[in-house]
């Protein structure tokens, strides 16, 4: 699972770099192959250095991570603000090359922290540069980045979960990838299609600025968009932001240290799978019969429900004949419905249309009689044990 995660990290970096290069850099095939090799080597070095970083004391490593993270964040924010403020091809090419080179360093130090946040952040920054280009490339960059980030996050989660519970990764790698992909890929596809439909054409490059050297009065000189004062403000904001981020990062690292709980993940003995009995309510559902038998049974059950509503429920231990004897009236239709039910439910021979008609007619007549002349409420031997004056 770790190897798969590293591969996705590599693909994420390569995709981000290639998109940015295709958008703004000199993206010859040879150059891209060269960058792919360089990224691979940097990532391998980073993975190797991970073991070396393990020996550094946690506190010292956290401090290094916060410092380097602040530096990286400052560079990324400054670069993106410059890119968004003055998106000239030359500046964007310069920034793409700068961030691509920086990515090699970031990959080399990827395992300084348990989670390679710096790599993901850097990849997103490169994708942001590619996104400024717009068009199909921007849509691909957004969708693919979302997909790869989601897959990496999902795999990383499952790897940590399985490692924490000391299970073998092998049987669960494919399932983890599949589960993550099922959530991430549709969203990524939708994002890619949505972005492409929103901006199908690449953004046009601004026209080259023509410098007018002719004389004009001092007060009429046009102001350039990115003057030195704005640049100074950006740099100052970046520096202040970097310091703030540094202290916030330190505070987060320190505050998390005290919250850790001792969670034990014992290796349990896994028993065999056992079936759970269906719910009691399900087992009490009425039986289903097909054809004429079913219709006769349903008719008789309707009779019983009607008698219950009229205050004369069948007792659990009572047979159909006993119930008919207890209810008594109307004698003939009740006997007809009861006999038809007994033949349909317990009889060996197939019931005929005559039986069905007899049962349905009898049940309807009994229900009609019960509606017109409700029977006296039947005494429940358990619930009404002390209730006087009720007929048994």
């Amino acid at each position: 699972m770790k190897a798969l995660g590293t591969s996705i990290l590599y693909l994420l970096s390569l995709n981000a770099l290639a998109c940015a290069m295709l958008a703004w850099g000199r993206a010859t095939p040879m150059a891209l192959v060269g960058w792919a090799i360089a990224l691979g080597v940097a990532l391998l070095v980073g993975e190797r250095l991970g073991d070396a970083f393990e020996v550094i004391e946690d506190k010292r490593r956290d401090r290094m991570a916060v410092f380097l993270g602040t530096l990286q964040l400052s560079v990324l924010v400054l670069a993106l603000v410059l890119a968004a403020g003055s998106p000239t091809p030359g500046l964007l090419r310069f920034l793409t090359n700068l961030l691509s080179g920086f990515l090699l360093l970031v990959l080399g130090l990827a395992r300084l922290t348990p989670q390679p946040r710096s790599v993901l952040g850097h990849a997103v920054a490169l994708v942001a540069l590619a996104g400024l280009h717009g068009g199909a490339l921007g849509a691909w960059a957004a969708g693919a980045t979302l997909a790869l980030v989601g897959l990496y996050v999902g795999l990383d989660h499952h790897a940590r979960l399985i490692a924490a519970h000391r299970l073998e990764e092998g049987p669960h790698t494919a399932r983890a990838l599949l589960l993550s992909a099922r959530v991430v890929l549709p969203v990524a596809l939708a994002v890619g299609l949505g972005v492409h439909s929103a901006a199908p054409q690449p953004r046009l490059s601004p026209l080259p600025e023509v410098v007018d050297d002719s004389y004009r009065p001092r007060e009429e000189k046009p102001k350039r968009e990115l003057d030195s004062r704005a640049l100074r403000a950006m740099v100052m904001t970046g520096l202040v932001g970097a310091v703030a981020v540094y202290f916030v990062g330190r505070w987060i690292v320190r505050s998390k240290r005290g919250e850790r709980k001792a969670i034990e993940t014992p290796e349990p003995l896994r028993g065999t799978l056992e079936p759970i009995r269906p719910e009691r309510a399900q087992s009490r559902s009425l039986p289903h019969y097909r054809g004429r038998r079913g219709r006769i049974v349903q008719a008789y059950l309707g009779l019983l429900r009607g008698a219950e509503r009229a205050g004369f429920p069948r007792r659990p231990a009572e047979t159909p004949d006993e119930f008919a004897a207890a209810l008594a009236e109307p004698r003939e239709p009740l006997a007809a419905a009861t006999n038809a039910f007994l033949r349909a439910r317990y009889g060996p021979s197939e019931v005929g249309e005559a039986d069905l008609a007899e049962a349905e007619r009898g049940a309807a007549a009994v229900l009609d009689h019960l509606r017109r002349q409700p029977p006296p409420r039947r005494r429940d031997p358990v619930k009404d044990a002390s209730a006087p004056g009720v007929r048994a």
């Binding site: 952040g121 949505g194 896994r270 028993g271």
Partner: protein, 430 residues
Amino acid sequence: MDETSPWRGFLSAVAALSGLLGLASGTPALVGLAAGWAVLLALSWLAARHGLASLEVRRRLPSSAFEGDLVTVDVAIENHSRRPARFVVAGDHFGAGLADRQSVLEPGPLPGLHRRILSYRAFVARQWGVYFVGPLVVGRYDPLGLFFAQREVARLEPFEVYPAAARIEVAALVGGRSSVAARDVTAAAAGESLLFRGVREFHAGDDVRRIHWPATARRGSPMVREHERDLQPRLSLFLDLERRGRAGLGRKSTLEYLVRVGSSLLWTAHRRGDAFSLVAEGERPVVIPAGQGQAHLAAVLHELVVAKQTGSLPLTSLIERHRAFVPPGAMAALLIATTEIDLDALAAVLSSLRASSAHPVVVAIDAPAFTQVDRPPVPVEEARALRAALVGRLLDLDVPGAVLGPDDTPEERLSHPDFLSLARPAEAGS
């Protein structure tokens, strides 16, 4: 494993920045990236909660254990839905252990309407007392691990930890003798002992294997062998929970010593197959009649670990009140919390027990030598004098006994062969 995702906050911040940048620069790709992440967050939140209601988890574990034991806890994860469940986490809190929580994972797939039992072992790391196990929770992550949803499904269960008992070898010399097998105390005089008692006529219901054939041949009618009933060894423990015996703190307290010595005496009796009873009076009277077996031992040890020294009845009065619990031949263990005891009353009780053929044993805790918690400290000389007086009286009465002070470790003293051999203390200055 920490339930908070290391990625959720970071990637949300990155996505928010991308979205802002995209809105500011009019870049749909960045806005789309942020929106996609927001959708993923929402889907993950829903996925973590989806199907959680159909997951059940149950726990099964013994209700008690001794200090240092390994307890097996069975956690059954049940999937009551029709769809398989994957990566289900069950969290439990075993109060008698050191960890804040135990977490077990069922990676699945756990088919619908099936359960799997995961058994984990927890170490009883805490001292004797009553702890709680639970609450038991069942939870699951979304496929990206961004959210963890859990549901509490079981309330707290009490779990008792009994003190690690030391086997007291010397007690075998004092009480009844070892039995061949445990027997019912209400059996008739003739029993299943190996000792031959005689021959009698055959009665209906007698085991034909007991027919004594030579005697049958001589008498001309069936005769059977009869064996004597084995004496039932019995221990009656009288525990002093009077308030004035309260002294010391934590592991160096009289209550700690009382409980450890008491549990060791009972455990030793249980191991030998003896019947044992407990009589005490703290905040409420505790009278457990003689019995045998694991369940009886658990009942008696339960009373020990929940005992409080809040009583007002002296131990001698308690014994007089419950003399019926000491049948002839039984061992009566008197566990006294303090040496500040009415020696004359104690002597009278011991003599009375002796008179009824019982074997009294006295184990006293030297409470005045412990740190006092609710009264001024007792001068050292006075404490020594009290101890010497008690030891002297016991020696005079020839009653086996022991006095434990704060410098003694109960476990070591109990397992020593001379545990109940008193020595007259040396006179001061000699």
